[in-house]
């Protein structure tokens, strides 16, 4: 080694000689390319320039959610209570966002064909992906937590310095939450052989959603139960709730420090370091090989074919609801894709974890009382309404998933073939989703709810929720009027739609109003249900009209 080599050069040179080492120059290049890819639209024929709105609109959505959260807690006088709740929400949303984007960010073999034959080590490839993910998390976490940090700065002793510290702790908390998800998937990638991983990851997604919803959102609420203006008493539970560790750190900074808060703060930092470090190193060396194996064809598909016959037959029965050939084509296309395309399943199945988590919470807390029985004031937390909310929320995932695919360019066939009724293709795809996924899910939920309330009440409650879900699904499809699987998957798209959570509140107003009317006056309630059915019918008609006008002039831009 010549003497002119600096320490960095020498290190770089040695790294280059090692097939395992990370190459920071390559990581920088891949990270920069990743940013370009994230910030640009996939539309054809555009001039190269940063397309800010996609990213900005996503961040604006998160900022609005963060503002609502911060303002709803502004009356809280206790910094620990405030930060516990805001950190819980921020960590949950970060984790859910990473779950939603994980398949396209980290466990994605999409760019394997581009990079696999180049001299890029496994660790470099992995670090570049994780760096991209962490940048993304940093942006969303900042948008989500900045309003709360401002509130903290004004509301509690210590002013701007505390607000700044809150922001730092919030970022660390969100990084830790993201790293936890990465760790979860890394473990799955390590435990399962690559052939099973594709299938297993879908259920890992579902379990992760369930656990996160239960752990980060519902558990703290269960512990509080009362109005959020009061101070949450610290108990032994704080040692098991990560948001409480970070909250302890913030409380320490406003001069309310005791030894317990100090330990909590240290626990927060130490756990974040351990989780992030483990997430970075656990599979980095075998990452490239694992992703490569994911790209190889799996003979298991044919093995499992027979096992799936019954479900396939059930799904195929739904085709009787299709009116014409186009609807049948859309139905069958979506049926095949839902069955075989792991990525598509990956984007839908996590949604089921949300209502299931609320159901579990309802069972534990006793909040799933009879909607038609006498009103109970004991439990202030609206578990039943939250369950309905998440049932409707699932449609958001479906509406987004049925129009997007990484093989979107194959949609040229819809334009080249003499398709008279393009609307039918999407309608058919929607019918498959309703028949194959929504209907069985509501049936399962009916059985589960029958353990918590009289079956008649459960049936009526879920019927109203189901019709509301169908109406919402129609409205969401109107907002996304494309042919099945004809749009590219953009990283920020699904996260942006998280903002629609707020809009789904309208559906909840309907749900509460109808169940309350049914409880108080059966006749009026029945009329309300009939009106809801009429609304659902009208939304379907409106959807067809919207699709007809929108898809008639649609051109293939692939």
């Amino acid at each position: 080694m010549s003497s002119r080599h600096s320490g960095y050069d020498r290190l770089h040179h040695e790294n280059r000689n090692s097939d395992q080492a990370a190459d920071w120059g390559q990581i920088r290049a891949l990270f920069a390319a990743g940013l370009h890819l994230d910030l640009r639209s996939a539309r054809a024929g555009q001039r190269s320039r940063l397309k800010i709105p996609a990213m900005v609109s996503m961040l604006a959505t998160y900022a609005i959610i963060g503002s609502i959260l911060a303002l709803s807690l502004v009356r809280t006088s206790d910094p620990f209570t405030f930060t516990l709740l805001t950190f819980s929400a921020a960590m949950f949303m970060t984790a859910i966002t990473v779950i939603m984007e994980y398949s396209s960010v980290v466990v994605s073999p999409n760019d394997y064909d581009i990079l696999a034959h180049r001299p890029v080590s496994s660790r470099t490839y992995y670090f570049a992906k994780v760096a991209n993910l962490l940048f993304y998390v940093a942006c969303t976490a900042t948008a989500l937590n900045l309003p709360a940090a401002i509130v903290v700065g004004f509301r509690f002793d210590g002013g701007a310095a505390v607000g700044f510290l809150y922001m730092i702790m919030a970022l660390i908390a969100c990084f830790a939450a993201a790293a936890l998800v990465v760790l979860l998937y890394s473990t799955a990638l390590k435990l399962f052989d690559y052939q099973r991983f594709n299938r297993a990851i879908t259920y890992v997604h579902l379990l992760a959603t369930l656990a996160l919803t239960f752990g980060y959102v519902l558990l703290p609420r269960m512990l509080i139960k009362e109005d959020v203006t009061v101070v949450i008493e610290k108990g032994p539970w704080i040692w098991f709730a990560p948001p409480a560790w970070y909250a302890g750190g913030v409380e320490l900074s406003v001069g309310l420090g005791d030894s317990r808060n100090l330990i909590l703060a240290l626990l927060a930092i130490a756990s974040a370091v351990v989780v992030i470090h483990t997430a970075l190193t656990m599979i980095s060396l075998e990452y490239s090989r694992s992703i490569g194996q994911l790209t190889e064809s799996s003979p298991e598909e044919t093995i499992r074919k027979d096992r799936r016959k019954l479900r396939t037959r059930f799904a195929a029965l739904g085709i009787v609801f299709c009116r014409n050939d186009e609807e049948k084509a859309g139905f069958q296309l979506m049926q095949a894709y839902m069955r075989r395309n792991g990525k598509l399943r990956l984007r839908i199945y996590p949604a089921f974890g949300l209502p299931l988590a609320v159901y579990l919470f309802g069972l534990v807390s006793g909040g799933l009382n009879d909607p038609l029985g006498p009103r109970s004031l004991e439990n202030a937390f609206p578990v039943r309404e939250l369950l309905g909310f998440y049932c409707v929320f699932i449609t958001l995932f479906f509406a987004s998933a049925i129009t997007q695919s990484d093989q979107w360019k194959a949609s040229w066939i819809f334009f080249a073939a003499p398709v008279e009724n393009r609307v039918g293709l999407l309608i058919g795809a929607r019918k498959l989703v309703i028949w194959r996924y929504m209907t069985p899910f509501f049936c399962v939920l009916l059985v589960l709810l029958s353990f918590a309330m009289p079956p008649v009440s459960a049936t009526l409650y879920l019927f109203v929720t189901f019709v509301l879900s169908l109406t919402t699904f129609a409205l969401l499809s109107m907002a996304s009027p494309f042919m099945p699987l004809s749009q590219s998957i953009e990283k920020t798209r699904q996260a942006r739609q998280m903002g629609l959570i707020m809009l789904l509140g309208i559906a909840m107003v309907f749900l509460v109003a109808i169940t309350e009317t049914l409880r108080e006056a059966r006749l009026a309630g029945t009329i309300a249900v009939v009106l809801l059915l009429a609304l659902a019918g009208l939304s379907e008609i409106a959807l067809r009209k919207r699709l007809t006008s929108r898809l008639a002039g649609e051109e293939f831009l692939g």
Binding site: D19, R40, Q46, S48, A116, P119, V120, Q293, S298
Partner: protein, 288 residues
């Protein structure tokens, strides 16, 4: 110089020679095999390709050509056997081996949301080229390929041929010793195809080795020094074009290829297709 199992790891010290030939081996497959479950895509492939040779790698669909390229370039791991690039085991020292290789993949995969310049600069960095040098070369290649005007446009709207030009540029950017080209002419216009064919001959004369997978037999016949034909994962013929013709007693490479890889009567298949498309009933009606 590190030596493992008799394989030299220093790419600059090349003295691997084919049996009885006075030439350096650039690509070597030793018992290379790949299975996907019960399917044996490539079966114990043994092959030595000397430096400066253009080796055509032919075979019907599903014969295992692309799988071979993927194994040779480190994209997938072989089930057994090794692939050596300038004497370096691609599985043992992938980064060293990959530095010497340029690849045009069959999939045509590239980052479409980047511009050609951005993509080529990225590729240059991955091969440790200086930014300015990579940029300069990228611009030159794009100009030579006639797509300089589109160098600042995202590639989402590019035609197949324009993408292929970018892919070929990316494969050549770091001046590799060995090129793996999987259907490199896909989508290229006649003039560009001609340029590429001449370029390959020129590069071969300068000591570059080309592993050329294609279905276009006329091009293989004109460009390649040697032709290896693969069928169902096994090498069924290996030699220059004249040797293959002689071996199969056929007048053209196309006929030789058919003889070696097809057990069916192609004429009968064509007739059956025709029947199926136009309908037997109509044909029966016409006959009446």
């Amino acid at each position: 110089m590190d030596t493992t199992d008799g394989q030299r790891s220093d790419p600059t010290d090349l003295d691997f020679r084919t049996d009885g030939q006075d030439s350096v081996v650039a690509i070597e497959f030793r018992g290379l095999a790949k299975s996907f479950g019960d399917i044996e895509a490539v079966q114990s492939l043994d092959l030595k390709i000397p430096r400066g040779q253009i080796c055509g790698y032919l075979g019907p669909n599903g014969a295992g050509k692309t799988t071979t390229v993927k194994m040779a370039t480190g994209m997938i791991s072989p089930t057994s056997g090794t692939a050596l690039i300038n004497g370096i085991d691609i599985a043992g020292s992938p980064l060293k081996a990959k530095l010497m290789v340029g690849v045009v993949p069959e999939t045509g995969a590239l980052y479409e949301n980047l511009t050609p310049i951005e993509y080529l600069t990225l590729v240059g960095r991955l091969y440790h080229l200086e930014s300015d040098a990579a940029l300069e070369k990228a611009e030159e290649f794009l100009r030579l390929f006639g797509i300089a005007d589109s160098s600042e446009r995202m590639m989402t709207g590019f035609s197949r041929g324009m993408r292929q030009k970018v892919l070929i540029s990316a494969a050549l950017l770091h001046n590799p010793d060995i090129l793996f080209l999987d259907e490199p002419l896909a989508g290229l216009d006649a003039n560009t195809a001609l340029i590429l064919k001449e370029l390959l001959r020129e590069l071969a004369s300068r000591g570059k080795t080309v592993f050329y997978c294609s279905h276009i037999l006329e091009v293989v016949e004109k460009v390649c020094d040697r032709v290896v034909i693969l069928n169902r994962g096994e090498v069924v013929a290996d030699g220059d074009v004249d040797e293959l013709k002689e071996m199969t007693h056929r007048a053209s490479l196309e006929d030789a290829f058919t003889e070696l890889t097809s057990e069916d009567d192609l004429g009968a298949i064509v007739k059956a297709f025709s029947h199926s498309i136009t309908g037997r009933a109509r044909e029966a009606g016409n006959e009446q």
